[in-house]
């Protein structure tokens, strides 16, 4: 049962990382334009170098 001492914090930590990631994407306005984002993947402008 001692293995739980490691596994529980690990599982909670992973969940927390996921949540923090979600909060970050939210703050960075990544859900504001779902329609546009699905078209942007076809955009060739930043194929060679990412947008600064």
């Amino acid at each position: 049962m001692n293995v739980l001492v490691i596994l529980i914090p690990a599982s909670l930590g992973l969940g927390l990382i996921g949540l923090l990631g979600f909060v970050w994407t939210m703050r960075a306005s990544q859900y504001d334009d779902a329609e546009g984002d699905r078209h942007r993947i076809l955009d060739t402008r930043y194929d060679d170098a990412p947008k600064k």
Binding site: L4, S11, F22, D33, E35, R45
Partner: protein, 715 residues
Amino acid sequence: MTAACPACGGADLAAPAAGSSGASAGILLHLPDISCAACIASVETALAGIPGVREARVNLSHKQALVQGVGLVPDTLVEGLAAAGHRAQPLDDGMLARQGDEMRGLLMRTGVAGFAMMNVMLLSVAVWSGAADTTERLFHLISAAIALPAVAFSGRPFFASALSALRRGRLNMDVPISLAITLAALVSLVGALQGSDRHSWFDAALALTFFLLIGRTLDHAGRRAARSAAAELAALNVPQAVRLDAAGRNHVVRADSLAEGDLILLRPGDRLPADGIVTEGRSDIDRSALTGESAPAAVAGGDEVAAGEVNLSGPLTVRVTRAGRDTALNRLAELVATAEMQRSRFAGLADRAARAYAPLVHLLGLGAFVAWWYVSGDVWRATDVAIAVLVITCPCALGLAVPAVSVVATGRLFRNGLLVKSRTALERLSEIDLVAFDKTGTLTTGAAELSGDPDGTALALAASLAAGSAHPYSRALVAAAEARGLSTIPVTDLTERPGLGMEARLGGRRIRLGRPSWIGAGGDGVALDTGEGAPILFTFREEIRPDAAEAIAALKRAGIDVALLSGDTAAPCNRVAGTLGIEQVESAMSPEDKADWIRNRTRDGRKILMVGDGLNDTGALSLAHASVALGSGLDAARSAADVVLLSGRLARIADLLVISRKGVGRMRQNIWLSFGYNAIAVPVALAGLATPFLAALAMSLSSVTVSLNAMRGMK
């Protein structure tokens, strides 16, 4: 925006309406035409090429672009985009601030509830599959540590709404939801602290919050898209006026800052911002927005003009007699206000289902508690069963049933150029059995076209004189000449006689084109005096929208009656009705007549859809069971209507009715589906057989079924 803007300079109203100062940090542009990946790239590239632009980002969902940089002027951005082939209009700066805060809050709460639910569910799975004693107690305590803060944060919208309903002495769907969530969380907490081996409902409380928040977010997303688009339409035409001060200088001011006694200058093409009396100038006035008359009226010094009318041919100076809230518009506004009250009484499907459902849920829960307490004598056991009943009957699926369908249906309509503004519009539209159309500006484009087949040389000469004028008849002459491929005849000394017509010289002869009474001819229309022989009369008729006939035919095929209500005289109404095949024609109606007509028909049990564009339609638009305004119509008409037809294509109205019928059918299906789940699950819960595992399964299954059913292709 309050005073004259430096960028516009004097009376130059040619500048677009939004006169932002040059130093603003961000400018929001409305891009009505963008639709694809190539558009995004070309708009962003075009904007980035304009000096001063730091960043330009297109939002395709809202058809907007946010441009950031220093020293930006909206006009240069619009010109830059025009050069790249995109139409753009600047939007009011104030709109930037209030974009999407509430939506973001809801998404955040949904996310938190989802993550907490998954973690707690993992711990619960361990318990369900056999963890016992210390492990089980430890897992319950950890679940409590995750679930309580998550529920407290994510459940806020439900708690707030339930509290405000209770305070007013009402029951809404959020009351049983909040009760179920809080009771489940609190009782499980007590169990976890006592270390007892009873069921823990933390995962159920979180799952409930999560699924209901999805429904709430969808509902909000749909309404926000409609609201922001409607606000954009309003922001597009910020009404402005040119005021003359005592020294005779021009100032561009906001129309709502005008006061009685101000002198305003109206150039041809301007819409009157206030009621007033003409002090100087002669011109023609287009009254169609107020009265529905299609022929322009002549005005000169001393004549009264009203807000909403459009000046056509000559510059006018007008002394304001009534401005702002006091204008003739006010009468119409009162009609609208009384009608709005009636409409808000319409309860949507979801509300009606909830009204029947909420008391039932409470009674069931209470009954289960009392019965189990009486039979078993164990308070905790009885509480457990009551929670199971509340959680299972809780309307996860019911909360999703209506918004999921309405998001899918309004999204489809928006892609077809129809903006649904009201939440209950779909349900009202599905009941329509009579469509009433306004004539001027709705069935017709509002422009004139030449009727008859006049002589080619005369037409070419008339078009040459008319070329410089903004009068609708002049434009019709030019269009007719172009359609026939006639080249213009060079004339000299071309001058406009405001309110009368045009005058020019051709090889020593004096040529006049204008009002028949001025030329010395009889009849309606425009007469041409070539300097020799009798004057030639051109007559006009209204141009009917190209797809109007198709739209009316489609409606008739669907078994829906069609009527025409117009403020115009009988002859043009009958002509339009005859061409389109409309049998019911009512002409020469005042705005009050139209409203009365709608009221009478409604009393007879008809469900009327009113389609209109002008101020004279606003009363009828807001009284009718449902209403559609044209995007090109006046602001007041658009705000009175449930649906705005952005594309101006009338044929879409038949689609609108079909889609709303299908959508409402789907909503009913969904409500029955979720009731079906309850019919199976409630007896199980009442029998005390429901476990948290079963509850989680039932909730997820019903929510997913309902969402999938909503998304099933709506053809």
